[in-house]
């Protein structure tokens, strides 16, 4: 069965520090990859997605992620975090061909990010 691993449970950073959150998935076929964010008291929101093409994808609020197929990884990065980035971040996988979000997402356990002002 497919699974998603997020390496860090809780990350604490000071403002302006750089961020990298790890995500690895287990599936040998075509996957679609996502990062979702949940700000305190809010719904899950899509941060960015990868289907094909350029393995470096840019999302909202200055976030980016790099797909490395050989490492089965899709790490999330941001060069300089802000206090408002405090949230929980979830990596997710959807198995299928291009545009194949016709089925369920498989989520990691999430990483809580706390940014100190």
């Amino acid at each position: 069965a497919q699974s998603v691993s997020q390496h860090n449970h809780h990350v604490i950073l000071s403002e302006a520090a750089s961020l990298e959150l790890g995500c690895n998935y287990s599936y040998g076929g075509t996957v679609n990859l996502f990062w979702y964010v949940q700000y305190p008291g809010q719904h899950l929101q899509l941060l960015l997605k990868y289907f094909s093409g350029d393995p470096l994808v840019k999302g909202i609020k200055g976030f980016e992620a790099e797909f490395i197929k050989s490492k089965f990884s899709f790490n999330l990065r941001k060069p300089s975090v802000q206090w408002s980035d405090t949230a929980e971040y979830f990596c997710a996988v959807n198995v299928g061909s291009y545009g194949g979000s016709q089925g369920n997402l498989i989520f990691g356990k999430g990483t809580k990010l706390s940014v100190k002002p």
Binding site: V4, Q6, N32, H43, L44, Q45, L46, K49, F51, F90, A92, Y98, G99, S101, Q102, G103, N104, L105, I106, F107, G108, K109, G110
Partner: protein, 116 residues
């Protein structure tokens, strides 16, 4: 426009009771998903509807769980003989269903179920 709504926002029940959780998707979204998020975990897939029919119910943990979507819009997740282990946040998401393109899943706020 309005997003995905879920009611109730919180539900406390006793072990053995029956509960119903409701999801109102975004208007025009034909795909609807239910997920369950236990404490310290990511959302876990339960069931996916395309229109009125359950296209994939492989995530339902056992036969105490059942979901319906009779008119292809509102969906109800039903849990019989609730157990303490059913305590979790139940999330609903909806999306369009266009072929050959990505269909973003939009999540609701969830229903927090507590079984005493």
């Amino acid at each position: 426009g309005a997003g995905v709504s879920q009611t109730p926002s919180n539900k406390v029940t006793e072990k053995g009771k029956y509960v119903e959780l409701r999801c109102d998707p975004i208007s025009g979204h034909t795909a609807l998903y239910w997920y369950r998020q236990s404490l310290g975990q990511g959302p876990e897939f339960l069931i996916y509807f395309q229109g009125t029919g359950a296209a994939d119910d492989s995530g339902l943990p056992n036969d105490r769980f059942f979901a319906v979507r009779p008119e292809g819009s509102v969906s109800t997740l039903k849990i019989q003989r609730t157990e303490r282990g059913d305590s979790a946040v139940y999330l609903c998401a909806s999306s369009l269903h266009r072929t050959e393109t990505y269909n973003e899943q939009f999540f609701g706020p969830g229903t927090r179920l507590t079984v005493l």
